[in-house]
């Protein structure tokens, strides 16, 4: 096939270029040594704005849950994986559990000289009939000191989160009135009966902490419950007569300070092998077991106040 190519076509062929090079008319780079200025970099404001808008649009689209099929699917997948994850964890822990020492038996690492001494000498060394109370308030009192401060810290954070300013407070109070049960007769009557009993029971638990089941925390919680019931029955107006934020602050302060100082004394004397002046008393008597009783009282006060404070805070952000 000898079809004649047109000149233009021919000029595009490599044969033509080769020939041009052969005859010295063209060179690969000679023509390219020609220069022109490069374009300067120009920041494009419009493009930036457009990008930003697109970004927003994408965000809107992505987070539009009701209309987004893939997001819905993702949720389903998420749930499924959650269950799988849970099952996996369970399997792992079950295997672990199966290797643990058998439950309920005596010969276990747990039942070692530590527990032995607590049981055998606890009464003698702490003066508390309730071995557990003796343990947490004397043998391992540092933990308990920390524990009460956990509670304290939590209260502080709740205060930070929920306590309102003066101006907001008034508004909240108005709002709160709507939810408050107004002079419900049944409630008030029952409360009149129950609250003293509850509080007395709480006090009993606290005071009996070193002698039997109970202690500062449980007793304090009971008292707190009583206070909350009272508040619900009679409203803030009544409670504010005897319990305000200031009361709470000082009660907490004194209780905790006492706790701190008392325990510090005991720690200090213990660590420096000094003799503690606090008498142990007769085991079983109400005034016995050294510091445990006062500490229980202090903890009880703190817990009672805290429980009440939590409730008040949750409800309207102030006392």
């Amino acid at each position: 096939m000898s079809r004649k190519k047109s000149i233009e076509e021919y000029q595009k062929t490599s044969a033509f270029r080769f020939f041009r090079w052969l005859s010295g008319e063209e060179d690969p780079y000679i023509g390219n040594v020609e220069m022109c200025p490069q374009e300067e970099y120009q920041p494009d404001q419009e493009a930036a704005l457009r990008r930003e808008k697109e970004h927003d649009a994408i965000l809107d689209k992505v987070y539009d849950t009701t209309h987004n099929k893939s997001l819905y699917l993702f949720h389903r997948l998420y749930q499924a994986t959650s269950v799988l994850f849970c099952l996996f964890l369970i399997a792992l822990l079950l295997v672990t559990v199966s290797y643990l020492p058998a439950n309920g038996t005596v010969i276990r690492p747990v039942n070692n000289e530590v527990a032995e001494r607590y049981i055998e000498k606890g009464l003698e060394e702490t003066g508390a009939v309730n071995i557990v109370a003796g343990m947490i308030l004397d043998y391992r009192a540092f933990d308990t000191l920390g524990e009460s401060h956990v509670l304290f810290t939590a209260t502080i954070t709740v205060l930070i989160l929920l306590r309102l300013n003066k101006t907001e407070k008034d508004e909240a109070e108005v709002n709160d009135r709507r939810f408050e049960p107004k002079n419900d007769a049944i409630l008030q009557l029952v409360a009149t009966f129950l609250v003293p009993i509850i509080i007395i029971f709480g006090i009993y638990i606290i005071l009996n902490g070193h002698l039997g089941p109970g202690g500062g925390f449980s007793g304090g919680a009971v008292i707190g419950a009583g206070l909350v019931l009272y508040l619900n029955a009679f409203g803030f107006k009544k409670t504010e007569r005897f319990f305000t934020e200031k009361t709470y602050k000082w009660v907490c302060f004194f209780s905790l300070s006492f706790y701190c100082l008392a325990k510090s004394y005991s720690f200090y004397t213990g660590a420096n092998q000094l003799h503690s002046v606090i008498p142990k008393g007769t085991p079983g008597a109400i005034l016995s077991s050294g510091l445990i009783l006062p500490l229980n009282i202090a903890v009880g006060l703190v817990v009672a106040c805290t429980i009440y404070a939590f409730y008040a805070m949750f409800r309207k952000g102030g006392f």
């Binding site: 780079y29 040594v33 220069m35 022109c36 200025p37 490069q38 970099y41 920041p43």
Partner: protein
């Protein structure tokens, strides 16, 4: 003494913005005096050096900051201190058009000290320290104009340099752990007892460290900061990005290769092949980019990239002769490139033209500048009788002598690069002197050669180029003795 030469520039630099100079010339005299004085001190130090190590401070463990004058440091410190006064002189004139002079001179002078610190460092850690410092003190110089371009450039410069240092750091670690000491000892400090069986890892780390230091020396994948950094004022581009900074990279690589890892350890390994291949590629790549580039300073920057790899090529031959070649090119290229950069700067300063195509016909109006430019161009191409030839001769000689076929390929790269050098340098010359028939001379009518502050350095450098080209025996002999460890 050895510390004072590093400290004097620091103090001077800090004093510049502090002292309230009433007139400009006072500041100039102050700076120039300090710099010249320091250079004289450096030379005195180099000529009367003792072999003792000056311990400045313990750092941690057995690492310390200490200084020593040995052959390599004599070469580099001598070079830097010889060039600096001239560059400063040139900068005075150049900076009349720029703002924020004080800040500029502050960092400019600081850089002097830091560069000397690199040169005089006695161990790898000290060098690394000053190496990082160098990045930091030069960034403000790149950023000087505070235009968007400058900021982008300085950012890139920082990323690259610091990133490179991060990998160079690995090399440092290797030397600390596997070496008997971190001090520089010709032939390497690796302890064979410790390295046994770990050769490949060490080589890998060497390659990484090479590339790390290579960032400053603009080895190929990491070179793009250098042309961009050309936005800095010309004295900076010329002195730092043609000499001080980039040569520090090359210097560091030489230290790493010859004085830390040791050529015995590296020679003939795959690591050598890899780094040599990288270097060879850079040689060609830099030139090709330079040919394509139309911005005058960026073109020179690409040229620098290629030429730096000449030095590295010499270094990675890993023979004493290779070191000689590298050192020769280290010194000669510095002079040639600074001279061509200063010409470019003079053009920009006098005419405000930045692109190659704008240079038409300037040769008639600035005959001195372009005459000198031509000489430096010829020297860069490697025309015999000028300095560039000698260094290339030494490099190629070393490559041939090494008997390494890859190195022979490297010679081919050198020559291709020389050709491309001719392309990108001589087109400028041709444009300047042969602007074309229909060139309108009125466009260049009010342009003239710059004043003596700019010309003096140029003339001095040109004389050096020719002198070294014709009579390089003593200096090459000196390099020989350095490479042999006799100094």
């Amino acid at each position: 003494m050895i510390v004072s030469v590093i400290l004097i520039p620091f103090i001077t630099g800090i004093l510049v913005p502090v002292i309230p100079f009433r007139k400009r010339w006072q500041k100039e005299v102050f700076l120039e005096t300090a710099v010249v004085l320091n250079s004289i001190l450096v030379w005195y130090l180099l000529l009367h050096h003792s072999d003792s190590t000056f311990l400045l401070a313990h750092f941690t463990g057995n690492l310390n900051i200490s200084f020593r004058v040995d052959g390599m440091s004599m070469v580099f410190a001598g070079l830097v201190s010889a060039l600096w006064p001239f560059a400063t002189l040139y900068a005075f004139e150049y900076m009349t058009k720029e703002e924020n002079e004080n800040v500029f001179f502050l960092f400019y002078t600081l850089t002097y000290g830091v560069t000397l610190g690199i040169a005089l460092a006695a161990n790898l850690l000290t060098m690394y320290f000053f190496y990082e410092l160098l990045t930091l003190v030069t960034v403000p110089l790149v950023m000087h104009t505070l235009t968007r371009e400058a900021v982008l450039a300085s950012r890139k410069y920082l990323y690259y340099s610091l990133g490179g240092a991060a990998f160079a750091f690995l090399g440092l670690i290797m030397v600390i752990v596997y070496g008997s000491t971190t001090d520089f000892i010709l032939g390497g400090v690796l302890d064979p007892a410790k390295t046994a069986g770990k050769n490949n890892v060490l080589l890998l780390i060497y390659v990484m460290a090479f590339l790390g230091f290579g960032v400053k020396a603009a080895v190929c994948p990491f070179n793009s900061w250098l042309p961009q950094a050309g936005v800095a004022p010309t004295p900076v581009t010329a002195l730092l990005h043609a000499v001080a900074v980039v040569k520090s990279g090359a210097f560091a690589i030489i230290r790493l290769t010859y004085y830390s890892f040791g050529t015995d350890f590296l020679q003939g390994t795959w690591a050598q092949d890899v780094v040599m291949a990288v270097v060879m590629f850079t040689i060609v790549y830099g030139c090709s980019r330079a040919v394509k580039e139309t911005h005058l300073k960026r073109r020179l920057a690409y040229s620098t990239i290629s030429n730096l790899s000449y030095i590295l090529f010499g270094a990675v031959i890993m023979t004493p002769l290779g070191l000689v070649g590298a050192l020769t090119h280290l010194v000669f290229h510095a002079i040639m490139k600074i001279s061509s950069f200063f010409c470019a700067g003079a053009v920009m300063h006098q005419t405000d033209r930045h692109y190659v195509h704008e240079l038409n016909g300037l040769g008639y109006k600035m005959p001195r500048v372009f005459g000198i430019f031509t000489i430096s161009a010829l020297a860069l191409m490697g025309v015999p009788g000028l300095a560039g030839f000698i260094s290339k001769w030494n490099l190629a000689g070393a490559a041939v002598e090494s008997g390494n076929p890859l190195a022979w390929g490297g010679i081919a790269c050198l020559l291709v690069s020389a050709l491309l050098t001719a392309v990108y340098m001589l087109t400028i010359v041709v444009r300047a002197f042969f602007p074309g028939k229909d060139f309108d001379y009125s466009t260049v009518s009010d342009i003239r050669d710059p004043n003596w502050k700019m010309l003096l350095p140029l003339f001095v450098f040109t004389v050096c180029i020719v002198l070294f080209g014709v009579y390089s025996q003593p200096i090459v002999d000196f390099f020989m003795s350095v490479a042999a460890g006799a100094v």
